[in-house]
Amino acid sequence: MTGLHTQALLLQVSDPRAGTRKTLCRNLTLSFNRGENWAILGPNGSGKTTLLHTLAGLRPPDGGGVRLGERDISAWSHRERARQIGVLFQQQETVFPATVMETVLTGRHPYLSASPWQAIWQWEDAEDRRRARAALAAVGLDGFARRLVTTLSGGEQRRVELATLLTQDPPICLLDEATSHLDLKHQVAMLALLASRVHEADRLNVFVLHDINLATRFCEYGVLLFGDGSHRHGRLQEILDADALERLYDCRFRRITDDGHSIYIPV
């Protein structure tokens, strides 16, 4: 079972005003294993997206390393990697008027032939289209296949992206603010759908989230990025206490316990 493992990971971004490099995350060593839902929590600019992109192999680490299974992430070809890891980006460019079906079918790209001369003739087949339709139904967009993505609302476009990820169907999903633009019903429905896939089919989800209550509801594990290079990781129940929350978001929280479940409200 291929999981994601970081070894003494160092993440830095350049700070053009100060002319220096800001350290977002220092010496992070942990294993994201299959069968787990993880949440990355932290304030704006603390490096959540940078960490996610580094885990996805889309950006080289500034120190240390990321392993996918037995091999360093950079040793995987783009195509092999795309069969293992799928990414939902924070923002998606939609410049050209593609239909919903065309967009969702791009999720099958890593499984179609890579040879340029076969690529000409190999189109998505009935099975690929069946997967795409099933994914659209799962996110509540059946009947949208022929619509242009550019004519959809923000929340509907977000669900098209989620359907593309479901069509790609990789064992590891890295999701950057999966709930953005979604209404409350769909926030819960989409996270429940994604989290259940982990338990049923032994997959791995890593969510970047801003909602602590959704994180504690759907994720057992978490990484807290404090923004100064320090971090904390482990079982969310154990690492997420009042002190950590206050340090994380620089504001006070009120904790309400309902039916054995803690709910945090900023005050």
């Binding site: 889309l58 998606q92 939609t94 050209f96 065309e102 999720g107 790609q168």
Partner: protein, 323 residues
């Protein structure tokens, strides 16, 4: 979705427009003239008109239109901007300056074409080099650099026109506005068009990903840097060839891909061949109009493409805003 119907229709349209170009002109030819000429029986004026003037010119127009539309499609994905076009990047400006300088110094036609090729390649390298100077190219930075370099070439063109002797001006203006009457080698143009299509077609599915962003392409299994370099190289080759054959013809590279995206979807596996076919047919019709509307006076074909292109484009733009 698999929609080959439009491609088939465009495959039929292409020979029809070339046939039209053979009929129409300052000397009207009938069916029998064309049939005889094509069968190799015809003699005299009809055969000369068709084989030495109209057919090569129509085939040349087809190649140039196809190259411009294909290169426009590729550049629009590369810059992720539906308003990108080979000319906005200053390519035609560089070509025009080199060609006009060759004319100014009284060099032969071969120099003019070679100069145009060199000028357009130089301009592409300049734009991409300047845009890349600090860190990675972002599409917006590339586009802005192209627009500014194009403006620079525009100033040089005006300068050359201002200091040129009167007898050179007419040829220079035609070059500047686009002109197909000197296209004597339709075969070369069509070969370059075919090469561009063969090279870009295997990238079509990857282009569908690139159209949704570089990170998306990388996450779905493509190496974006390799893809961008390939697209840039093919688009440069096509634009340079088109400009060196026919001068600066605007709007084809902008409108054809845009129109096809609206009526035929955004899947590049169909968009690329569709663009080559419709771009070619469009320029054959535009060139036929250019040599007939005010016959025997010939207009630069760039005037016709702009006159047809501007209203079509504005209409599409307004229509596109309604959901």
């Amino acid at each position: 979705m698999y929609r080959p119907g439009l491609t088939l229709a465009l495959l039929l349209l292409a020979p029809l427009t070339i046939l039209l170009a053979m009929f129409v002109g300052s000397v009207q030819l009938g069916w029998s003239d064309i049939r005889q000429a094509l069968a190799g029986e015809g003699a005299g004026i009809a055969a000369t008109l068709i084989f030495e003037l109209r057919l090569p010119r129509a085939l040349g127009a087809f190649a140039v239109g196809g190259m411009l539309a294909l290169s426009g499609t590729l550049l629009q994905v590369l810059l992720r901007n539906p308003l990108a076009d080979p000319y906005i990047l200053g390519v035609s400006g560089g070509a025009a300056v080199a060609a006009m300088l060759s004319m100014l110094f009284g060099l032969g036609a071969g120099w003019v074409m070679g100069g145009a090729l060199g000028g357009s390649l130089l301009s592409m390298v300049l734009v991409f080099g300047l845009a890349h100077a600090r860190g990675a190219w972002t599409p917006m930075r590339l586009l802005l650099t192209g627009v500014v370099v194009a403006a620079g070439w525009g100033a040089v063109i005006s300068f050359i026109l201002a200091i040129s002797p009167n007898h050179d001006l007419h040829g220079m203006l035609f070059w500047h506005l686009g002109d197909l009457s000197h296209g004597r080698h339709p075969l070369i143009g069509n070969l370059v068009l075919l090469t561009g299509l063969v090279l870009s077609f295997p990238l079509a599915r990857a282009l569908n990903l690139l159209a949704r962003g570089e990170l998306t392409a990388a996450a779905l299994g493509e190496n974006p840097l390799r893809l961008k370099i390939a697209v840039y190289f093919i688009a440069s080759l096509l634009t340079a060839a088109a400009v060196s054959i026919a001068g600066s013809i605007g709007f084809v590279g902008l409108i054809i891909p845009h129109l096809l995206r609206l009526i035929g979807g955004s899947d590049h596996r169909l968009l690329l061949p569709n663009a080559a076919l419709l771009g070619g047919s469009f320029l054959v019709v535009a060139d036929t109009l250019a040599r007939t509307v005010l016959a025997p006076v010939q207009l630069p074909v760039g005037v016709i493409t702009a006159l047809l292109g501007v209203p079509v484009f504005l209409y599409l733009l307004n229509r596109g805003q309604q959901p």
